[in-house]
């Protein structure tokens, strides 16, 4: 290597180090000035802001799919969910749980303690241990701040966003949230999903349930396969359920001995008075999407009608995992 290149590289390295150091001191200064905690250092938001972000996103999901009109069911899910959430490291968040009126199979964790589960997912659950496992997975996302971290990574990198972060918190938070509830359309890293699975198992066990409810639910999803329309978004935004089972198996097998057997209480059914979930109204198609829709104009089953002859959407694996 010639001398000139060496000098040049050395200078570049020095600039890089200085740059990092000055960026770090600015960040630390800002954080200590306003007395923010360690979590703030990681996400750039304090807990109040995190809750405000989550409330906005959860409210938007509710705008797209309202709560199932069954007050008893909603209260029940809140009691189960809060009990599971009490077993994690952020018990004092304003935990809110809701069953939303969508026939798809999915669940959403908005930052700060908001957990929404679709009626489609709720109705394939056989017992409360399975519900606890699913809610535990979502609670895991919240206590480890998975979504807020992803939102920051994608929003806060632009220079404009950095300025807004210093000068105008409201504007900064709006940038962070983006349009609608897009963070749920994008999904998280696979590693965050695997981590939430491991947490879901443990939180269910701590709450006194069978730890294996989440595993049973993942088996149900795997057995439905990728072509099941009710799983379309979940499959786009999560690792395949079979892969999640393998990852959980690797984590669990050496630790099987530490888990109590736990209980599998019955689950509350959705009230018979509540009509079946309406399919979401397709959004207006544009451009290429419109073409695809014309091409695929298959007759749709009426909303709420069961999937077809011999298909029992709620019954898969019920023989094995059911009550």
């Amino acid at each position: 290597m010639n001398l000139r290149l060496k000098i040049w590289l050395g200078a570049a390295a020095a600039v890089a180090v200085l740059g990092v150091a000055s960026a770090a001191s600015i960040d630390l200064g800002r954080i200590f000035d306003v007395g923010r905690d360690l979590a703030t250092a990681a996400t750039g938001l304090d807990e109040k802001e995190e809750i405000a972000v989550g409330r906005e996103i959860a409210g938007r999901v509710l705008g797209a799919a309202p709560l199932v009109a069954d007050a008893e069911l909603q209260s029940y899910v809140n009691r189960v969910g809060r009990w599971v959430a009490q077993q994690a490291e952020r018990p004092d968040l304003p935990w809110r749980f809701g069953v939303i009126d969508s026939p798809g199979i999915n669940a959403f964790a908005a930052p700060g303690g908001y957990v929404l589960i679709t009626r489609g997912l709720y109705e394939i659950l056989d017992n409360e241990a399975q519900l606890a496992g699913v809610l535990g997975h979502e609670i895991g996302h919240i206590v480890r701040r998975h979504h807020i971290t992803v939102m920051q990574k994608s929003a806060a990198v632009s220079a404009g966003a950095r300025l807004a972060q210093r000068d105008n918190r409201a504007q900064f938070i709006n940038n962070l949230i983006g349009t609608g509830a897009e963070v749920f359309a994008r999904g998280l890293d696979k590693s965050a999903e695997y981590e939430a699975d491991r947490i879901g198992i443990v939180l269910a066990a701590r709450a006194g349930y069978s730890p294996y409810g989440l595993i049973e639910v993942l088996h149900k999803l795997a057995a439905r396969g990728a072509s099941d329309a009710s799983l379309a978004l979940l499959f786009k935004t999560h690792p395949q359920p079979g892969e999640r089972l393998s990852q959980l198996g690797d984590a669990l097998t050496p630790r099987m001995g530490q888990f109590p057997a736990g209980r599998e209480p019955g689950i509350r059914q959705v009230s018979a008075d509540v009509p079946p979930p309406a399919a979401q109204q397709p959004v207006p198609a544009q451009g290429a999407r419109a073409l695809q829709q014309d091409e695929g104009a298959a007759p749709a089953v009426r909303p709420g009608q069961k999937g077809g002859i011999g298909v029992d959407p709620g019954g898969i694996l019920r023989g094995i995992f059911g009550r």
């Binding site: 409330r55 409210g59 938007r60 999901v61 509710l62 797209a64 709560l67 809140n78 189960v80 969910g81 809060r82 009490q86 935990w95 809110r96 809701g98 969508s102 798809g104 999915n106 908001y114 489609g120 609608g180 509830a181 491991r198 198992i201 443990v202 709450a207 006194g208 069978s210 294996y212 595993i215 396969g225 072509s227 329309a229 009710s230 978004l233 079979g242 089972l245 959980l248 984590a251 669990l252 097998t253 630790r255 109590p260 057997a261 399919a279 397709p282 959004v283 198609a285 999407r289 695929g296 298959a298 749709a300 999937g307 011999g310 298909v311 959407p313 019920r318 023989g319 094995i320 009550r323």
Partner: protein, 168 residues
């Protein structure tokens, strides 16, 4: 009297799988005599072997295959996609080309088999519902109410470490 028999029959049905569930072994694994890793190994199973589930205990499945039966951890198998659903999926793929090349990727909203849930565009275009948020907050449970319900359901908190070794 009828009630008694009804309860008995319900219990018997619950204890027994409704129909034989077929599974495929996902990775090489031992088959154990009992649902415990310390118990004797009765067979070594290869990936791809198929068997029938005859019982369940916690994370363990009791499996019968190739003339032997024993226990393995459920994450080592995959349940087979139900025939009825496979038929639905084939129907969905539509044309002969679809059958040749497999189901078309479900990129659109109307070619699905009927059930359509929230999708990406619904979420991107969603707008805040103050009325729904008010309801959500109204259903919230206090810590005390949640603990009381849990105890009534026979649940007691247990000490279990996280699997990744992080503090509680």
């Amino acid at each position: 009297m009828f009630k008694f028999w009804g309860a008995l029959i319900t219990a018997a049905l619950a204890a027994m799988p409704a129909a034989a569930e077929q599974v495929v072994v996902e990775r090489d694994t031992a088959l154990y005599a009992e649902p415990r890793l310390e118990s004797a190994q009765v067979a070594q199973l290869k990936k791809g072997a198929d068997g029938e589930v005859i019982g369940k205990s916690g994370a363990w499945l009791n499996l019968k295959l190739q003339g032997v039966s024993g226990w393995l951890l459920s994450f080592n198998v995959r349940f087979q996609v139900k025939q009825a659903e496979a038929a639905e999926s084939a129907k969905e793929s539509g044309s002969a080309l679809g059958r040749l090349f497999g189901p078309r990727r479900s990129v659109n909203v109307t070619s699905t088999i009927g059930i359509r849930g929230l999708e990406e565009d619904d979420l991107r275009q969603a707008s805040f519902s103050a009325e729904q948020m008010r309801q959500l907050e109204q259903y919230a449970a206090t810590r005390e109410a949640a603990a009381e319900r849990a105890h009534a359901a026979g649940l007691a908190a247990e000490r279990v470490e996280y699997l990744d070794g992080r503090p509680q």
